[in-house]
């Protein structure tokens, strides 16, 4: 078992390495981006808080992305990204 962070670890599952949530839910192969297998929500940046660009300076180029475990619905990660940017694979172990 290899710790990835607070919520995720990499385990052997059917002979393959896989991302597993602390709740026991297997998200997907560790050779891939775990975010692909998480539940996803993309929102305007204002969802992140009332003081996040409140006057919409520069328009709304950014989005707020949230990723949660399909097993326990714990929020595993958040990203700020330009609208339309592909998901960032943030870890390879």
């Amino acid at each position: 078992m290899q710790r990835v962070n607070e919520y995720l670890e990499i385990v052997e599952e059917a002979g393959e390495k896989a991302f597993r949530c602390k709740c026991g839910y297997i998200l997907g192969p560790a050779t891939d981006n775990y975010k692909t297998y998480a539940l996803k929500c993309e929102s305007p940046l204002k969802k992140a808080g009332p003081n996040v660009n409140p006057y919409k300076v520069g328009g709304e180029k950014f989005v707020f992305r949230e990723f949660c475990c399909p097993g326990c619905y714990t929020l595993l990660g958040t990203d700020i990204a330009l609208r339309g940017e592909p998901l960032l694979r943030d870890v390879e172990l």
Binding site: A48, V52, V57, E66, T78, I80, V91
Partner: protein
């Protein structure tokens, strides 16, 4: 401690601390001699002691990159100046050339060789931010510049002090273009004093311990710190981490893409794919990129290792970048706002990747820290002050931002900035005494720290106005981080606030004062509301009011895992609003007691989980 250098362990323990103390004394000398608020109050400077090859043995605890970058400047002088103009005892070289190593043109370095009986034994140096070194733009930014030729003047290393004597011709050349030559003069004397004190103390040390012992100590310190850092790296898992930080400038967004790979005891920071350079203003050069990466690495992995040696840290790192990008600008790209532009993008990207590397280790999980406040709101003010004299000021209050949340506790509220452990902001009374301005408030601002299981530190907000004058004729306001937060959250943590800057013109503030009231927000004041352009030179009349809201630190962990009692405390202390408590943290408070309603909180948090269950696969 065993190193390849022949020095006994007891002597090494004594001398590594003495060398650190000598460098600190150099910094103290600077603060005591300089009258400039940037050097003596904000502490936007640093000192370093280097060995004869130009490797940094120790830096001070102020802005790390100021000390780290001296290595590039000294190595340039060693490589290029041996024969002409020569390097001799008593010489000092001044440099603000970002293509050599200065962070940007306003960060002026003064470095000096240290000799003992004709032998070069090391170097000492100091770099200090200067409010104005000249150029078309007042302060540090030339709005609309299309190259470095339209920015502040650049001085490659020049031998300003020759065998202990200041060259009047070169000093005049340095002062002539500045709008604030007296400030330059104060800090030049202070930097000279700093170098003189450090050189004298090192010569005393040599007299006391012998030159071979001191030279061996210099090398042993760098080796010792390198071994410590590499040992830490060996204990961390190998892997690759990525993050993209964003810089908003003009009509464009500049992504800073970092892929950080750790293998055994080495880290490679690869910025391939980062956005092309801008014509001017926001970029940084490659020597500066190296210094920034070294600084953020030291903040995450150099804790508890004394003395802090960036020369050692640099040995553990490789920095890969593409020439022509905004983190690796090529001549003649302008870089006048590098320290509050590209630098922060690099710190943000490096912070996230380093934090995530630590998170993958059972041993180092408690060292995980979300990014801190980054980017900036700066007001460079010029005009006639309340005493009828010309003045210049840099209002750097944005630096009191929030710290990133840790994996076991909240980030420090108004904690400052990563990479500058000892900096401060000037006292309000200092601002008001020196400059024609009046502060209506400085306060910790609600809903600026990134929500999370552990909350990011909240940021500073402030409101001020011109005072005792009809106007401040030139206010150059330049801000970054208005569109997206730099203090992003990690592991489900939410991001901090963005910077927000706003104005109200021609207000009724004097009527409000006459009524004996002190407004706590812009909403309580009548006037013409304005969101200024990101970079603007304007004037401020006596009834105009400017408000700044800083960035907090990023949050750590899922916000609905935060202890409801901590959320209630935050609401009571006006650090989190009741709306954010309910919407983001899922905590419902009793409206009378402001204590958590346990049953409604459980229901609200289940409701948030049900919402998440409906997200797309």
């Amino acid at each position: 401690m065993r190193t390849k250098n022949k020095i006994d362990p007891v002597t090494f323990e004594i001398l590594r601390h003495r060398v650190g103390a000598i460098n600190d004394e150099g910094a103290s000398s600077l603060m005591l001699v300089s009258g400039s608020p940037v050097a003596s109050e904000v502490l936007d400077f640093n000192t370093a002691l280097l060995n004869a090859k130009g490797e940094v043995i120790v830096i001070g605890p102020y802005i790390l990159e100021h000390g780290i970058s001296l290595e590039q400047i000294v190595k340039y002088i060693i490589a290029n100046y041996q024969d002409n103009p020569g390097i001799n005892e008593g010489d000092m070289f001044l440099c603000n050339d970002p293509y050599v190593g200065a962070l940007h043109q306003n960060d002026v370095a003064l470095v000096a060789p240290i000799y003992w009986e004709g032998e070069l034994v090391g170097w000492t140096g100091v770099a200090v931010h200067q409010q104005d070194v000249g150029g078309p733009g007042k302060g540090q930014v030339s709005i609309g510049a299309t190259s470095i030729f339209e920015e502040a003047p650049v001085f490659p290393p020049i031998k300003l002090i020759e065998r202990g004597i200041i060259r009047k011709d070169l000093e005049g050349e340095y002062f002539k273009r500045s709008r604030l030559p007296e400030r330059l003069g104060l800090d030049l004397r202070a930097m000279t004093a700093s170098n003189n004190v450090t050189s004298r103390r090192i010569r005393e040390l040599i007299k006391d311990r012998g030159i071979e012992t001191v030279k061996s100590t210099f090398d042993a310190i760098i080796d010792y710190v390198e071994v410590k850092l590499r040992s830490r790296l060996m204990e961390l898992p190998d892997g690759t981490w990525r993050h993209t930080a964003y810089l908003d400038y003009g009509d464009k967004i500049y992504p800073c893409k970092l892929t950080m790979t750790k293998k055994k005891d080495k880290l490679v920071f690869d910025f391939t794919g980062t956005a092309a350079q801008a014509p001017a203003v926001i970029n940084c050069t490659y020597p500066v990129l190296q210094a920034i990466v070294t600084g953020v690495f030291m903040m995450y992995l150099g804790y508890g290792i004394f003395p802090p040696s960036s020369g050692a840290a640099g040995r553990c790192l490789e920095v890969v970048s593409e020439p022509g990008t905004f983190v690796h600008a090529i001549w003649p790209a302008g870089v006048s706002k590098a320290t509050t532009g590209a630098r922060y993008s690099v710190i943000d990207a490096g912070s996230v990747c380093l934090a995530k590397m630590l998170a993958a280790s059972d041993k180092y999980r408690d060292r995980v820290m979300a990014p801190w406040r980054s980017s900036s709101i700066i007001a460079d003010l010029f005009g006639i002050d309340q005493r009828g004299a010309y003045f210049g000021a840099s209002i750097l209050d944005f630096m009191a931002g929030g710290a990133g949340a840790r994996s076991y506790k909240d980030g420090i509220d108004t904690g400052g900035q990563l990479g500058a452990p000892a900096i401060a902001i000037a006292n309000v009374e200092t601002h008001e005494f020196r400059y024609p301005m009046l502060f209506l408030y400085r306060k910790q601002e609600r809903d600026t720290g990134g929500p999370g299981k552990f909350r990011g530190g909240v940021a500073l907000g402030y409101m001020w106005m011109p005072h005792d004058v009809e106007e401040i004729s030139n206010a150059v306001i330049h801000a970054i981080g208005l569109q997206s937060p730099n203090g992003v959250g990690i592991y489900g943590g939410y991001p901090s606030s963005t910077h927000v800057v706003s104005l109200k013109r021609n207000t009724n503030i004097l009527d409000i004062f006459r009524d004996g009231k002190l407004p706590a927000s812009l909403d309580e004041i009548d006037g013409k509301f304005e969101i200024p352009p990101q970079l603007v030179e304007t004037s401020l009349k006596k009834n105009d009011i400017i408000v700044g809201l800083g960035q907090g630190g990023g949050g750590y962990g899922d916000p609905i895992e935060r202890d409801a009692r901590l959320v209630a405390n935050d609401v009571t202390n006006e650090l989190v609003s009741r709306e954010c408590a309910r919407d983001i943290y899922g905590v419902v408070l009793d409206p009378q007691t402001l204590q958590p309603d346990i049953k409604q909180t459980e229901e609200r948090r289940l409701e948030i989980k049900r919402e998440r269950a409906g997200w797309q696969k």
